[in-house]
């Protein structure tokens, strides 16, 4: 079994918008049969201290750019606009 990929989902509170994004990613990946993914929510101010070992950061708000981890900043899960493209981007980013 592969080691699960780890996604860090960030927003201002780690409560509201990041929950929508985390659940959105979880569902979309499940539909595509990808299950070996761990998703953790955090606040934007915590990203730097939680970034170790993370494969991808998905965020609704700006986060630092010098983390050496791919960052996808998106509102698609909140507005519903362009959601499919973002999900494709996420899957692409998790591949390698």
């Amino acid at each position: 079994m592969d080691t699960p990929k780890r996604i860090l989902v960030a927003c201002g509170t780690a409560i509201a918008t990041s929950t929508v994004v985390a659940k959105g990613i979880e569902e979309a990946l499940k539909e595509r049969g990808i299950s070996s993914v761990m998703i953790r929510q955090c606040k934007a101010s915590e990203v730097r201290s939680l970034v170790d070992g993370v494969n991808l950061i998905v965020t609704t708000t700006p986060v630092p750019t010098d983390l050496n981890v791919p960052v996808i900043q998106t509102l698609a899960f909140l507005t519903g606009i362009g959601k499919e493209e973002v999900i494709e981007q996420i899957i692409e980013a998790l591949k390698d």
Binding site: A10, C11, G12, T13, A14, I15, A16, T17, S18, T19, V20, K23, Q41, K43, A44, S45, E46, S49, T59, T60, T61, P62, V63, L75, L78, T79, G80
Partner: protein, 459 residues
Amino acid sequence: MEVFLTTLQAVMDNLGATVVLPIIIFFVALIMGAKPGKAFRAGVTIGIAFIGINLVIGLMWSSLSGVAQAMVTNWNIQRDVVDVGWPSAAAIAFGTDVGLWVIPIAIIVNLLLLVFKVTKTLNIDIWNYWHFAFIGSMVYMVSQNLAYGLIAAAIASALGLFLADWTAKAVQKFYNLPGISIPHLATAPGVPFAIFTNWLIDRIPGVRDWKVDPDTIQKRFGVFGEPVIMGLVIGLVLGVMGYYNADQAAVLILQTGMNLAAVMLLLPRMVQILMEGLIPVSEAARDFMKKRASDREIYIGLDSAILIGHPAAISSSLVLVPIVILLSIILPGNRVLLFADLAIIPFIVALFAPLMNGNIFRMIVAGMLELGVGFYIATSTAPLFTAAAQNAGFVMPEGASQITSIGDGFLWPQLLFTKAVDTLGVFGLVLVAALLVVVWALYAKNPTKWERIAGAPEE
């Protein structure tokens, strides 16, 4: 209608929010067009969240009110209004009799204002309808009239749309979010404070050129951004102040520290469950509203959580945390014991940034003003806040301390609504609505000028 509402209220008071809210959410989700299975799961999840939040509030309560009482005896500092944090406030607001109806009410208000081209904002941020429910609940508590509470919630939702329209250009430009506006009643009420602070500082030679660099602040104050450590430290400090002379002082102090660190981690987790339960409702509501909104250009109204990652918002709140703790101790007449809501400060300052061009020094000053005033607002409205919590079924020990939170107990909209209704009854609601209409009309007459005042760039 009156009889219907009274009967309904009696039934709900007996069942409590953990049972009633799931049922209501189930039906609201169905009406909005969610699938029955999803709607059902949503309802149950929300009930679970309420039970979880209640447990954590109980833990926080027993830790903090003990300390608060000990502090009165030891130091004669009366800080008996406990800050339970906005996550609790949101749960309380959704759990009151007003909260049960807020989602359909705010959707109707929004669609009407869109159809009549009064607003440009489509507020799909259903989660933050709790702010409207909060104001409605406070009005309900002060008037003991559910209809007044529901009307107040409707007016508050319109206020959110106005503030969103007014600040949209500034947000879109500064935060680079085309097509987005922020109808969030914890953030938008700060704009007047920012306008005033700018006006003031621009008149002080020397000071008007002061700037602070966000990077140095993030490095030096980073720990204030980590709620768990902050909870532990505050718990230990409060523990020492309250129990230094008690039997087994060390045990009590360490326990207070750990309990409060636990609250800082657990409370947001519980509220995540509430949010999770709301997702099917908010997605269904979003699609429902989008289908019915016209084709012309509209702004999508979102949570200010999307602004909070900006370095200016993070840095200025990091500095504000120790400042407001200090304020809570030294301000005479304040009774609020700050705790859980120290984490909400980024929301309070987020809309200062466009007006102040991200100048952290100015944002800190404006934050001190808004929160400094907030201590007095919160102290005076705490009895209503506590009553609302009881109405929502949260367990408040009889005669114990009162509760509040920075969001939205510290903010002026709820004070405006409750004072108006308390003094003038139903005319208070008319007055607040009329004020909003006048301000909105003035804005509509000269939107560009107004938007510049709120921080929009010159074209």
